[in-house]
């Protein structure tokens, strides 16, 4: 049965008429056309689907929309500003951090939430923060470098 749910996604308020049990990921991809959050397993095991819910990184593949009314969601599409890429996206480009790229949306999201909490992390701290995200291409070394670089860039901007 469809019900009306109010959700703020990347700064826009949406009224959604969907079943309460619909996973957030399906709503983002198929109802809002935001394809950046990706289906990898549907089991909360790979991290490809991660989004920010009120600033906290969370799986979207099994999270039912009915539990999210009134919440604020940020997806990978919402990271950048109109003018520029988010420093994380820029650092990933600078380091050429990615091979197939399928894992990157979820990783960018987790890294963003992590750097918000810890702006000056070590490589080991970043690795620990990203441990729930799988990357099958083995882009990890570059991703770790890119997050370190983004952290430095963001601190530079603050100073």
């Amino acid at each position: 049965m469809n019900e009306c749910h109010t959700l703020t996604v990347n700064g826009h308020v949406h009224e959604l008429d969907v079943p309460s049990t619909a996973p957030l990921l399906d709503v983002l991809r198929n109802h809002l056309g935001l394809k950046g959050s990706r289906y990898g397993c549907g089991l909360e095991q790979c991290g490809a689907c991660m989004v920010l819910i009120d600033g906290v990184a969370a799986y979207s593949c099994s999270r039912e929309i009915g539990t999210l009314s009134g919440r604020t969601i940020t997806t990978v599409e919402g990271l950048r500003s109109a003018e520029a890429l988010h420093p994380l996206q820029q650092a990933f480009l600078d380091e050429q951090a990615g091979q197939c790229g399928y894992c990157l949306s979820g990783i960018l999201i987790v890294a963003k939430a992590f750097l918000d909490r810890n702006p000056d992390p070590t490589r080991a701290e970043i690795a620990a923060a990203l441990d729930a995200n799988l990357c099958r291409c083995g882009s990890h070394p570059r991703i770790l470098r890119a997050v370190l670089k983004a952290a430095a860039d963001m601190r530079g901007k603050m100073a």
Partner: protein, 701 residues
């Protein structure tokens, strides 16, 4: 005259490869496809180099079965060697044709003209004409002749530079994958899989399925193939899950845990082949050792996906599979359409690392599209479907036998291999697409087949060591009767063969108390192999390697991929207690002329990370319901916190032709870890993955 390459002989017309487009760009066609390895960027660099274009003036058209060249599968690291060589010759030839035409137009001698950004310069000044102003006068339907020599390396300005990946910006901002494609009126689809080729569907309770889906799902059934189709992806997925739970099958595949082991494989009847030198007549002092690895999954991060549309008698398929020309033939044959009535287009997907479910999902989508014409069908596999039904990489056992001289050096070598095939791509060796087995007339049984050694070998890949040993041979026991489908995973048989060869070499060095690097150098005359070995050893500060046996170790591994492609030497440092922790990896690679050095490093790093995961963690298990490792919890792979420091360097080898690199470091990485663990423990673990149990067993032995 430059000799025509393999791909050019198959696709001689210039316009299959190169077209001038109205928007002042050049379209470069390739049969090879982007799998995350950066190939399209490297091929664009080659084209822009020869044509004197900027990289942004090149548009890559990849994997188009109608207009583009057919180059088989994107596999075995052939792309740069085959497609790159063809594009290089075609671009050089078209540049020469265009220059001659421009010279006529400008009333100039060809050597007065040069090209910059696609415009002709006469004695260095703008001439007012460019490629596009004379394109109409060039006959690109002509066949390539190889008459124009490509540029020498000294003239390169783009080749050899680390041009950023063309596809990465899109992928970092939330688009770029086949999973993201939307066509008007598109329907979603999921399948119910036939549990094994001989299984017959006895009962399917459609009421339960509709109830679980919330209604509104169409059920398409073709013999033992069933798909659930509708506008709502959530509902369609729920229907497929419900169907999997409630379907009743006759003759469903059941497996036992033992069948997943290398020992089981090695105990099966086999088709035996001898490759290389004849067996030795004289018995020498012989040493042998046996190594094994389990079945492995490709484990793509995304389940396979395809889109298909059947309209006006034409079936169009969008797929992320590794070859669109083969896919077109395989689909046409399976569904009984003529080749003209099928068009396949490549769209990027997640990394596949070999033959996974991509081709099969494309047939699935095509079957549904044929049943429901005029509506695009987006069919995606479920996670458990990808793990449970994609082809696996075969479990293997390898016994290496070395005959020794009085000084303890090998003078005769046999690599004896037990494995199922590593080459079961659709259309190769009689193999078919998965759903073909669910049709009324299933495909005929395959005969024993593996990729022949001339084409790089399957199980036998890298079975011949590159050392100066005297007679060397492979004894392959190809196991045909395996209850699961096996096919190509990055590296194929090379991963275990190199692990075994390099493992025994370390043991042989140990027997005479020699340093493993020194021992190898004493039997290695290939200067390119010596150079990477010495380089990796220097990077790792090998000369200060300690005695070992105290829980930390340093090990080395070396191979030339397929014995014909890139050379890689890897040194790994490990710490071993309850588990093996790889702390550092150093790797030196000779890739010949490096088209895009950073792209090469990226692939090698990825290959190293994946090989660490294979060596230490991964293992497919079987159970009564078939493959039992159906999610990331039962099939764990390496995580961020397990990633060592990895340093990769390319040795300067620009005088040699470019070589494929995407798979060169896997075997040497596995070998380096194996040898480092042996160094750390003072005893060797012969079996992958090197789990806690195996460490304990080795220490007790």
């Amino acid at each position: 005259m430059t000799a025509l390459t393999f791909s050019l002989k198959d696709n001689p017309r210039l316009d299959r490869w190169l077209r001038f487009q109205d928007d002042h760009t050049v379209r470069i066609g390739t049969g090879k496809v982007e799998l995350g390895q950066g190939v399209l960027t490297a091929l664009a660099q080659i084209a822009a180099e020869e044509l004197d274009l900027r990289i942004d003036q090149v548009r890559m058209m990849s994997g188009n079965s109608v207009e583009g060249p057919g180059e088989g599968y994107t596999a075995s690291s052939w792309s740069i060697e085959h497609s790159g060589a063809a594009i290089r010759l075609v671009a050089a030839e078209v540049r020469a044709l265009a220059l001659a035409r421009a010279a006529l137009r400008l009333n100039a001698a060809p050597d007065e003209l040069t090209v910059a950004d696609g415009a002709f310069l006469k004695n260095g000044s703008p001439s007012g004409i460019d490629y596009w102003s004379i394109a109409g006068e060039l006959d690109l339907s002509a066949e390539a002749t190889g008459a124009a020599a490509p540029k020498p390396q000294s003239a390169h300005r783009l080749v050899g530079r680390s041009v950023p990946r063309l596809d990465l910006p899109t992928k970092l901002t939330g688009a770029g994958f086949i999973q993201d494609m939307v066509l008007p009126r598109m329907l979603h689809a999921r399948t119910l899989r036939q549990p094994g080729p001989g299984a017959a569907l006895l009962q399917l309770d459609e009421k339960i399925i509709q109830r679980r889906a919330g209604g509104g799902v169409r059920i398409v059934r073709l013999n033992n193939f069933v798909a659930f189709v509708g506008t709502d992806e959530t509902a369609v997925r729920a229907a497929a899950v419900a169907a999997t739970e409630c379907a009743v099958w006759d003759n469903a595949l059941s497996l036992s845990p033992e069948q997943a082991t290398p020992d089981w494989i090695a105990s099966q009847p086999s088709d035996d082949r001898l490759m290389g030198d004849p067996p030795p007549e004289l018995a020498t002092d012989r040493i042998c050792a046996r190594f094994t690895r389990p079945f492995l999954s490709h484990g793509s991060i995304a389940p396979s996906c395809a889109i298909a549309l059947y309209r006006d008698g034409v079936l169009t398929v969008w797929s992320h599979a590794q070859g669109m020309h083969p896919l077109r033939e395989n689909i046409a044959r399976t569904v009984g359409l003529s080749l003209d009535a099928v068009a396949c287009h490549h769209v990027q997907g997640a990394g596949c690392y070999g033959h996974n479910g991509a081709d099969d999902a494309a047939l699935d989508a095509a079957l549904v599209a044929l049943a429901l014409p005029d509506q695009p069908i987006r069919l995606m596999w479920r996670r458990e479907e990808e793990f449970g039904y994609e082809p696996l990489s075969s479990a293997m056992a390898v016994t290496v036998h070395a005959g020794l001289d009085g000084a303890g050096r090998p003078i005769d070598w046999t690599t004896e291999i037990w494995s199922a095939t590593h080459g079961q791509r659709p259309g190769v060796g009689g193999a078919s697409l998965l759903a073909a087995h669910a049709m009324k007339t299933p495909p005929p049984d395959r005969k024993p087949f593996d990729i022949p050694l001339e084409r790089g070998g399957g199980a036998a890949r890298n079975g011949i060591p590159l050392y100066d040993i005297g007679p060397k041979r492979i004894e392959l026991h190809l196991i045909h009767d395996v209850p699961v489908r096996t096919s190509s995973l990055r590296g194929l048989g090379a991963t275990l063969n190199v692990f075994a060869i390099e493992g025994l070499l370390d043991d042989l060095a140990g027997r005479i108390g020699e340093d493993p690097v020194a021992y190898r150098l004493a039997i290695l005359s290939d200067p390119r192999a010596r150079r990477v070995l010495e380089k990796a050893a220097a990077m790792a500060n090998w000369s200060s390697r300690e005695a070992g046996g105290a829980g930390s170790g340093l090990g080395i591994g070396l191979a030339r991929y397929k014995n014909s492609s890139a050379y890689a030497a890897v040194v790994a440092a490990v710490e071993v207690d309850e588990a093996v922790r790889v702390t550092d990896v150093w790797c030196a690679v000779d890739a010949g002329l490096a088209i895009n050095p950073d792209g090469i490093l990226n692939q090698i790093e990825g290959n190293i990370v994946q090989a660490i995961s294979w060596t230490l963690i991964e293992e497919v298990r079987f159970g009564p319901q078939g493959i039992a490792t159906l999610d990331w919890e039962s099939y764990p792979v390496i995580r961020f916190s397990e990633i060592p420091e990895i340093r990769v360097e390319l040795v300067e080898a620009g005088e040699y032709p470019p070589l494929g690199v995407g798979e060169c470091a896997g075997g040497p990485t596995a070998a380096a870890i194996g040898n480092a663990v042996a160094h750390a423990l003072g005893t060797r673990i012969h079996d992958m993955p090197m789990t806690r149990d195996r460490i304990m067993k080795a220490l007790m032995a």
